[in-house]
Symmetry: C2
Subunit: 360 residues, 2 copies
Amino acid sequence: MNYKIALIHGDGIGPEIVNEAKKILDKVCQVYGHTFTYTNVLLGGASIDVHGVPLTDEAVAEAKSSDAVLMGSIGGDAKTSPWYQLEPSKRPEAGLLAIRKALNLFANLRPAYLYDELKAACPLKEDRIGDGFDMIIVRELTGGLYFGERKTEEQDGVMTAVDTLSYNEKEIRRIAVKAFEIAMKRRKKVTSVDKANVLDSSRLWRKIVEEVAKDYPEVTLEHMLVDNCAMQLVHNPGQFDVILTENMFGDILSDEASMVTGSIGMLSSASLNETSFGLYEPSHGSAPDIAGKGIANPIATILSAAMLLRYSLNLDKEADAVETAVQAVLKEGYRTGDIMSEGCTQVGTVQMGDLIAERI
Amino acid sequence: MNYKIALIHGDGIGPEIVNEAKKILDKVCQVYGHTFTYTNVLLGGASIDVHGVPLTDEAVAEAKSSDAVLMGSIGGDAKTSPWYQLEPSKRPEAGLLAIRKALNLFANLRPAYLYDELKAACPLKEDRIGDGFDMIIVRELTGGLYFGERKTEEQDGVMTAVDTLSYNEKEIRRIAVKAFEIAMKRRKKVTSVDKANVLDSSRLWRKIVEEVAKDYPEVTLEHMLVDNCAMQLVHNPGQFDVILTENMFGDILSDEASMVTGSIGMLSSASLNETSFGLYEPSHGSAPDIAGKGIANPIATILSAAMLLRYSLNLDKEADAVETAVQAVLKEGYRTGDIMSEGCTQVGTVQMGDLIAERI
Ligand SMILES: CC(C)[C@H](C(=O)O)[C@@H](O)C(=O)O
Ligand SMILES: CC(C)[C@H](C(=O)O)[C@@H](O)C(=O)O
C-alpha cells in the first residue's frame, strides 16, 4: 500500500532520532511491500529559523494532507537559545500547541511501562516495583487551561493574570470513550484523575466519565484525586492500567510516570483525532545538551513509528515486527548511554537504529 | 508565658494524633513554665455532624482569637461516609478551604526530608537518594484555581464547566518573599515552579519572583516547569532546597515529594498569614481505614506542634526540644507500623506520644 507520512524533525536531538525512525519505516516498506512517501514539515525552533514563526498555515496543510505525522522533539535550551527571546506566542512550544489544536489531536496516549531488561534503570526499589507496571495515560490534549482564555491586565496599578480552565461535556465524553476503548483491549481498568473536591470542571468530568462507563460494564472505573495520584505513581505504580485525565494533570502525571519507569528514552506517544489520523512523538524532550553528539536514544521515536503503523495505517503486523525487533535488541544487551548498565554493550544513535532495522 | 491554642481534632485519626500532640505541648508547659489554654474548634466532618456545615462563623472567630491553631486531619472515606452525599460546598474539605481563606493563611510550608533512620522506608534506590534530601515546599494557599470564580452552565443543550486561575502581583510577591526569607535560613536556593511556556498566570509569577529575587542577592533562583519538577522529584530530589509554587501545583508536588520521602507519617506543615498566626497540621490525611485503632503515627502532628512553637509563639528552644525528642525516639528504634522496619520496636499512637514526652 501507499502512504504519505509527514516528518517533523524538530529541534535538539529531533533530527537524529527521526532519521533512525525513518530508517525503520523504510525497512518495513522493503519487507512488507509498502510505499511510504515522506514530506518534511517545519515546527518549533526549526520553523522559527526559516519562517520567523513556530508554525505556518502551509505546514498545517501539509501535515493534514498526510496519513500520519511522525515528530522528533520541539524546543531548545530556554536559557540560551535566541528563540526564547521572542514573546511566548512565538516560541517553539507555541507551535506544538497550535498544531495539536489545528489537527484536533484531542487524545494523547502515553504508555509508561517497565521493561524487564531495564529494571536496573528504574529509580524505585525492587519491592516497590512488585510484578512491574504497564500503564497508559490518556490525556485530553486540546482543552482545559492550555487553551482557555487568558489575559494579563493592570487594575489600580496592580497587575493581574488570568487563565481559564473550561471543559464541555462533549470534550470530556470523547476522551473518556477513547480511554474505555483502550481499557477494553488491556486489563479493563480505568482510573479517572481529577480534583473533584475543589473544581467545577472536575465535577463535570467525573459525571460524564461515569455516564460513559455505563457503556463499558466490563471495565472497572475508579476515581482518584490528582494529588493522591501523584503519590500513588511513586508508592504503587503497579495498580494502574489506564489513567484518564485532563490536559494539565495529564502533562504533570505522564511526565512523573515516565520518570518512574526509569527509561523515558524508551517511551512513545500518540496524539489522535476522531479519525485514524495522528501525530506520533517520543515522550521525552529535545535534550539540547546532547544534540548532534550521536548518543541520543532513538527507541522512543522508533516505538512511536510503531504506534503510527498500528493506529493510523492499521498495519498491526508491521507494528508488531518493530516492537519485537526493539525487544530483541534489548535482550541481546545493546543499550544507548541513557539506559546503559553493567555487562551491556553501549551503542550510539545510528548503530541502535541499524541494529533494530536488521531485526525486522 | 500564657498562650491560647485552638485545637481542631478533625476526622478519622485526627482526634488520636491531636491528643498526642497536646500531650507534648503540656510537657513543654511543665518543663519550660508556660501556660497553654486550649479551646476546641470544629471543622470538617466533625462540624457537619454537629452543625450541618463544615465550618461556622463561631469556629472562625474562636480560631482567630487564639495565638495559633493545631489541627489533626479533615475528611472521611469519600466512598462510604454520609458527608459525601452532601453537595460539594458542604463537604469536609470545603471547611478546610474556607478556614484557610477566612484566616488569610496564604503561605503553606511543607517540609519533605529523608530521615537517616528511615531510609529503608524511602521508595527510591540508594543511588538515587545520594546524600539524602531535605527540602521545603512553599505553596501559595489562598489563590489560583482553588479560589477563582467557577460555574457550570448549559448552553444549547451542552454542559460546560469553568474554573478560573487568577493571581495578582501582590499575592505572588508576598508568597515569594516568604520563600526567599526561608531560603536565607537554609541552603539559599529557590526553585520557582510554574508553567510559563503556556500560562499567563505563570508568566506573571515568574516576573514577580524575579523582582523579589533582586532583594536576596545571596539566594540562587532557578525556574522549573511543573512537568519537569514532577520528574525531578523522583529523579534527583536532592537538588531541591526551597520549592516555591502556586496553589494547585503545590498541592500535587508536595504530595509527590512527601511520598518520595517514604515517611509521610512524619511530615508536618504550617499555614501562615502575614503575622505570626498560623494553622499547623500533618501533611498526611485522615486515614479513615485505621481510625480508632490506636496505630496511627502521631509524629507529623507532634512536629507540627513544634512548628507552632517556633513560628507562632517564637519559642525556638522549646521547638528544638520537641524535635530532638522525636529524633531520640527514632534513634532508639521505636516505630509506629507505617515506618516499621527490621530490628525496631513497634509501638502504638499513645505509646509513641509517651516516649516522646518523656524525652522532653
Ligand atoms: C511543550 C509543552 C507545551 C508540552 C505540554 O505541556 O503539553 C509538553 O510538556 C508536553 O507534555 O507535550
Ligand atoms: C482537601 C484539599 C482541599 C486540600 C487541598 O487540595 O488543598 C488537601 O489536598 C491539601 O493539600 O491540604
